[in-house]
């Protein structure tokens, strides 16, 4: 609370009051974005160039897609710790299927790519089906369920590959889905954009999207309003896993190999992207647009730290700190909401 007279026209108190209202309305993300841009732009001349920013976008795409899925789980009041494993399993299964189909029929490049993608995404989504069934029908806490599935999925991925990367996918796969460009924009960005538009329509223009918010808002009230809460929860985790799986295939294309060791940082980073974007850990609150920005912000910070030559080990320290800062900011915001009320 400020001691300034609220009626005085433009004063520091007025400014503080305005930024407080902005903070309550938008959360911490806009402030962090502004601070990050100022800090990194002053540290490196290359930061604010078009090429670098496009680079940031391209690198953030994978996290962005995973975060959109993570947001769905968070909206229902749960979360999905297994998104990293889903990436790994998708990559391994997709690459194995694609490589073996390609080896058997070297001429059928597109068939190999299609079958590989389908198999990979299906394998990843299967993890989500398990998560969903556990959470929705057996009442297992999302924490335990997705933690357990993390171990299961990772184990399967290592077992399938023996721990070594999978080679032998058709060259075209990586060329198109990893490095391909159209009008100077990389193909994964198109995929992310299409997903974002579809998800936006799903969340805000269909009743199923509203049901996700309702289930997270008050499970009992949703039930009494005739919403099938179990199927809503099940589909939430399936959708979350499917999105992570798509990100897994895109990353496989980028790496040109199937790897069981990718995605380890995804659970933390995707939850961080959502929380920084104002998604409530208690469920029911959060906007998709902000989550996209949240993922972009994390990409921006990583890129800026790379340009400023901050060691990669220290970068993880910064990311963890940011996540905690975001949660603290959320708590402070709640307190402000209670005091501002209007």
């Amino acid at each position: 609370m400020t001691d300034q007279n609220p009626s005085s026209s433009i004063s520091p108190g007025r400014l503080a009051e305005m930024s407080k209202r902005l903070f309550v309305k938008l959360g911490i993300l806009p402030f962090l974005l502004v601070i990050a841009v100022i800090v990194f732009a002053s540290m490196s001349d290359n930061f604010l160039t078009g090429r670098n920013l496009m680079n940031v976008l391209r690198q953030s795409v994978y996290l962005m897609i995973v975060s959109m899925g993570q947001m769905l789980a968070l909206l229902t009041g749960g979360f999905d710790l297994s998104v990293g494993t889903i990436l790994a399993l998708t990559s391994v299964v997709g690459a194995l299927v694609m490589a073996s189909v390609y080896a058997a029929m070297p001429d059928a490049i597109w068939l190999a790519i299609a079958l590989g993608c389908i198999a990979g995404v299906a394998a990843g989504t299967l993890i989500g089906v398990c998560n969903g069934i556990g959470v929705a029908f057996f009442g297992v806490s999302p924490f335990m369920m997705s933690l357990g599935m993390t171990s299961v999925g990772f184990g399967v991925a290592l077992f399938l590959t023996g721990g070594t990367p999978v080679y032998g996918m058709p060259q075209a796969f990586g060329d198109i889905f990893g490095f391909g460009t159209l009008f100077g924009i990389h193909s994964p960005i198109y995929v992310a954009a299409i997903i974002a538009v579809l998800l936006f329509v799903f969340l805000y223009r269909t009743r199923f999207g509203r049901y996700i918010y309702a289930v997270g808002g008050n499970l009992k009230a949703a039930q009494l309003s005739g919403i099938n809460t179990r199927s809503t929860l099940l589909w939430t985790y399936v959708l979350c896993a499917a999105l992570a799986a798509v990100a897994g295939m895109l990353l496989t294309a980028r790496l040109d190999t199937g790897e069981a060791n990718i995605g380890a940082s995804m659970p933390l980073q995707s939850i961080a992207a959502c929380v920084i974007a104002g998604v409530s850990l208690r469920g029911g609150v959060g906007r998709m647009e902000n989550v996209v920005l949240g993922a972009l912000f994390i990409g921006l910070v990583q890129n800026g730290m790379n340009l400023a030559r901050i060691e990669s080990y220290l970068q993880t320290v910064v990311l963890g700190g940011l996540l905690i800062l975001a949660v603290i900011a959320d708590q402070i915001r709640l307190r402000y909401v209670a005091s501002l009320k209007d």
């Binding site: 609370m1 805000y204 223009r205 269909t206 009743r207 199923f208 509203r210 049901y211 918010y213 309702a214 808002g217 008050n218 009992k220 009230a221 949703a222 039930q223 009494l224 309003s225 005739g226 919403i227 099938n228 409530s280 208690r282 029911g284 609150v285 005091s339 501002l340 009320k341 209007d342």
Partner: protein, 521 residues
């Protein structure tokens, strides 16, 4: 502000018979509390004497809760003074208030569900010896307090296994850990049965004799008459008047509270009983304490009351018919069609709406906007959606029309549900029942924690629905509601129907005799 309001109650009551003590027990002088943009309490002058029950009366949001939270040390005033026995008291925390013997029992329970009754009662003041807890001693002390209060509760029971009424009793018992000098009770009877309420009143009377001052908040007129000595009325955070509880009429009180003449609270309903909408034969639900063989018939154009003690199965009966509670056996016919296993979504489609009693836990999504809370049960039908895609314009239009119709205040449909007052939250629930055409609407305790002005609006709302030919079931623990609003009433007792009363048979005595008939035998 009127001139009347500028004068403190002490001055105004000059010449009245004062108690032997020179100073009032507790007094506030120009107490003010500001929240950004809102003055929750405005120059409040309030006075509590030794050995009186002083009722605070006002609509939701009038400032009652703000006042008591400052008296209990849970909140600090922006300006003004609090005098305790004539001396200025600095109540910076609940702990300091407790040192002076000021204990409060708030509506929101401050109990830890996983702990036992005794552990909860002594939370923060556990008896220890040499730094070690003394559970035996704690238990004995708790036992003694509970016995003194005549509450039949075993101190070793876990709080989450208790009913709401029992939890309320524990909350009250907690205030008696130390000998209170001022006891603040915020709607303590909202979830108590009549029997438990009587027990509480006996207790209040005993405390009065000991000289304890009691601040009592309630919306129930009958309670004010029964135990109140003086009433202080608040409106919009301002002091309005202090009146004698025994000589002021209901109408005067309501006029003082609302600032306008409300007239009759209960509307005259024109009942036109028509075809049978709901017929239930011999319904059982699994588990102890459920419905145990109840049969009910509800017709179009009538209001059927479900009365009975808390836990008598009246609520569970309705939930089972609605499909939110499992059924063991029994026949349910809705609009002439047999329903073997009701499911909520299916029952809503058939035209059956159940509005739960506990807004916070079962009714509303507190962090979502009012608009979404109103439309949530009808998103699968036009005009809210075409099955898949939402029609957001229609949703906005319909919900704001409903907000107008129900006088939602403030009329902001994008405001979060949790930021409305209790009465307005209830309106959001009521609006839900108008989002599509229902043939049967069950209102479960529709006026708990709702002020008199809003109450009258809710009753008028129910009456109008009934006259339009909707079948209504009104589940209520508030006897006047059953007496004045229903044309037929079932009294539930231990999961069975104890009596069915119609028209003139619905009297207080008739109802009450069936509440307790077998318990007395």
């Amino acid at each position: 502000m009127t001139d009347k309001a500028r004068v403190s109650p002490a001055q105004r009551l000059e010449g009245d018979a004062h108690s032997s003590n020179a100073h009032p027990l507790l007094q506030t002088v120009n107490l003010t509390k500001d929240y950004p943009g809102v003055r929750a309490l405005d120059n409040m002058n309030f006075e509590l004497r030794h050995g009186e029950v002083h009722v605070l009366f006002g609509e939701n949001g009038a400032g009652k809760s703000t006042l008591i939270s400052m008296l209990a040390g849970a909140n600090t005033p922006t300006s003004g003074k609090i005098l305790f026995n004539g001396q200025e008291a600095n109540l910076a925390s609940v702990h300091e208030a407790r040192e002076l013997g000021i204990s409060a029992v708030f509506q929101e329970f401050s109990l830890i569900p996983q702990m036992t009754i005794a552990e909860n009662m002594f939370l923060g003041a556990e008896p220890t010896r040499g730094g070690l807890l003394q559970p035996g001693q704690q238990r004995a002390k708790a036992e003694a307090i509970l016995q003194d209060l005549d509450f039949h509760l075993a101190p070793g029971r876990r709080v989450d296994h208790l009913t709401r009424a029992e939890q309320q009793m524990v909350e009250i018992a907690k205030a008696f850990r130390t000998e209170p000098s001022v006891l603040i009770l915020d709607e303590p009877t909202a979830s108590l049965t009549n029997h438990e309420t009587e027990q509480l009143f006996r207790l209040v009377n005993r405390l009065k004799e000991r000289g304890v001052g009691i601040i009592y908040i309630t919306h129930r007129m009958a309670e004010i008459r029964e135990i109140g000595d003086r009433i202080t009325i608040l409106r919009d955070g301002k002091y309005i008047d202090t009146v004698d509880a025994k000589t002021t009429s209901d109408d005067d009180l309501v006029t003082l509270m609302t600032g306008r003449v409300v007239g009759q609270i209960f509307p005259k309903v024109k009942f036109k009983p028509g075809e049978i909408i709901l017929q239930v034969d011999d319904l059982h639900t699994p588990g102890a304490g459920g419905v145990n063989g109840a049969s009910v018939t509800v017709r179009r154009g009538e209001i059927v009351g479900f009365a009975g003690l808390v836990g008598s199965g009246k609520s569970k009966f309705a939930q089972a018919c609605f499909g939110s509670l499992a059924i063991e056996s029994g026949k349910i016919r809705f609009k002439g069609e047999a329903v073997a296993k009701p499911k909520t979504r299916d029952m809503l489609k058939r035209g059956f709406m159940y509005l739960p009693s506990d807004r916070r836990s079962d009714g509303l999504m507190m962090m979502r906007p009012a608009r979404e809370n109103i439309s949530t049960a009808s998103l699968d039908v036009p005009p809210f959606s075409n099955g898949i895609f939402l029609n957001r314009r229609a949703e906005k239009k319909i919900t704001s029309d409903l907000a107008d119709q129900l006088n939602l205040s403030p009329r902001k449909i994008e405001r979060e549900a949790g930021q409305f007052s209790g009465g307005n939250q209830q309106k959001l629930m009521l609006a839900r029942s108008l989002t599509r055409t229902f043939d049967l609407i069950v209102f479960d305790e529709p006026t708990v924690g709702v002020d008199v002005g809003t109450r009258a609006a809710i009753y008028a709302f129910i009456a109008e629905l009934c006259e339009q030919g909707v079948a209504i079931v009104l589940i209520s623990s508030d006897l006047p509601e059953i007496l004045h609003l229903t044309n037929r009433a079932y009294v539930f007792y231990r999961g069975k129907i104890q009596a069915e009363l119609a028209d003139d048979e619905i009297t207080e005595n008739n109802l009450l005799s069936h509440f307790f008939e077998r318990e007395a035998a």
